[in-house]
Point group: C2
């Protein structure tokens, strides 16, 4: 069966900027807190309204993110900016709650081997931690939203194959444990758009609107196609840290609220702060097409 050309893409998509956490945590250069604040300010000015500002992990594990508390407090000064943090466990979650994060993301690896190597817990032990986090959140009468993020959802560099059935079982388990939302992440860039379409559609059947976000790494150049495939089945929020995604959405006439020119300016600044580090993406090199204005008109 060939679908019609009138596929109903989401009319609006949210890009959650994750460069401050996922981008920075994998590079050596320590970015000064002031630069992070500037990044948040310029992202806000460019129209971004959801930012993952850091991670509440022990500072000795990821020195890059040791200033997450201060960065989060700063982010909360922008009206309408939804600030999230990653937390690996209850202790981190308590800090997120205390600091008033709008959302805390608890990652949980669907690869047992990856989970054990990374956080020395099985996936089911991580689910139990989410239940404890939910209890702590409710006890504190906090409004912080809890997102359970299933990582290595398309495979893993340690274990290799990850069974989609296991991913879906964990989606179920996370919701049962009290996660408000769930998301799926291709942590190592193994997904292709067919896998995404198939897995995301099944996850949507389980979680409905509580399946809130897709997170794709562009390790093998598939991330943009994977987002496209996810949108086709109705997902409308994506983690990102290059402008290529914002560009595709604008070109497709999908509203994001983002000003691409300002986003590209910000990218230039980030590249400056990270001088010497490789940065990713294509649009910043090629520039916006001459047709872009017409394309964005199409979005109205």
């Amino acid at each position: 069966m060939k679908p019609s050309a009138t596929v109903a893409f989401p009319s609006r998509v949210v890009i959650r900027e994750v460069g401050l956490r996922d981008g920075l945590q994998s590079i050596a250069t320590i970015m000064p807190t002031e630069a992070k604040k500037q990044w948040i300010k310029e992202a806000f000015e460019a129209g971004i309204r959801e930012i993952e500002v850091g991670s509440f992990v022990p500072a000795k594990l990821i020195p890059q993110l040791a200033d997450t508390g201060e960065v989060l407090t700063y982010a909360k000064t922008f009206p309408g900016l939804f600030a999230s943090v990653l937390v690996p466990n209850l202790k981190g979650a308590e800090r997120a709650i205390d600091n008033g994060a709008d959302l805390l993301l608890v990652p949980l690896s669907a690869s047992r081997a990856h989970s054990l190597a990374n956080v020395r817990r099985t996936p089911d032990e991580a689910v139990s931690e989410v239940a404890r986090i939910r209890a702590a959140r409710d006890a504190a009468r906090s409004k912080t939203i809890i997102e359970g993020g299933v990582s290595t959802a398309f495979g893993c560099t340690i274990q290799g194959y990850v069974d989609p059935e296991e991913v879906l079982r964990l989606v179920h388990a996370l919701l049962d444990a009290g996660a408000d939302r769930v998301s799926l992440a291709d942590t190592v860039g193994y997904a292709d758009p067919r896998m995404v379409r198939e897995l995301f559609e099944r996850a949507l059947r389980i979680a409905g609107d509580r399946f809130c976000c897709g997170h794709f790494h562009d390790t093998r150049g598939m991330a943009i196609a994977n987002v496209y495939a996810a949108m086709e089945v109705g997902i409308a929020r994506f983690d990102a840290s290059t402008e290529d995604l914002a560009y595709m959405l604008a070109s497709m006439g999908i509203k994001t609220g983002i000003d691409l020119e300002r986003l590209l300016e910000l990218r230039g600044h980030v590249a400056g702060w990270l001088e010497g580090e490789a940065t990713h993406g294509n649009v910043w090199r090629a520039g916006l097409p001459k047709t872009m204005q017409r394309a964005s008109t199409r979005a109205e």
Copy 2:
């Protein structure tokens, strides 16, 4: 309407290697004829069965492709290898026919401004040239297939916007003029997957099976997603010169006949022959995923 997860992607896709023409014509380094022959040999050994080997243009315009005749003759020594050339006009077409090319591709720019700047002809004058080429081919009782390729089909750096109606009019006109096949090219990397889906579906309604190929430039990182969108409406041949596309197809379980390991070896050699030139793509840097074997099993 959301399409079902059971979209019928093509079970088999042909990748036409165009690096020897489209890749080389845009770089300064002149590749020796012997290297081009080695490229063809290794591509054939990797399972590629369609190659655009060069272009019959005046040598002084593109010195890089001055040896196209010799390269074509060499390509024809491989049994089952379908060798095509690009020709800008009747004179080039006559050389292609004389040299026994399996296919000659006549590009025709849908952007009037681009067409005038590039070949000093209006699009309709280019259509007339295709009619003359068809007459010459038939008079020579040649089996060379004539493909009319509509370039700048999604916009152009000179004119900006290109009206899809004009693209479709030219598809019609090319078929009327005697082209055996037509194809559409995003010459400047302006397409997004929604545009591709919409335009390709309309072109298929006009040309049916004679709409044979999609050609996407990855200038803004959209090429892989554009191929995916084109496959969703039923296109099953693509021009390419990076391994990322072959990787996506293999991962999706779509047969191409290509041995990815050998293709990556070839890429290493091409990069060596072009030392100092920037080359594109992600998979060669990241390597194949640990899951690839399982993914290719899925293709059976």
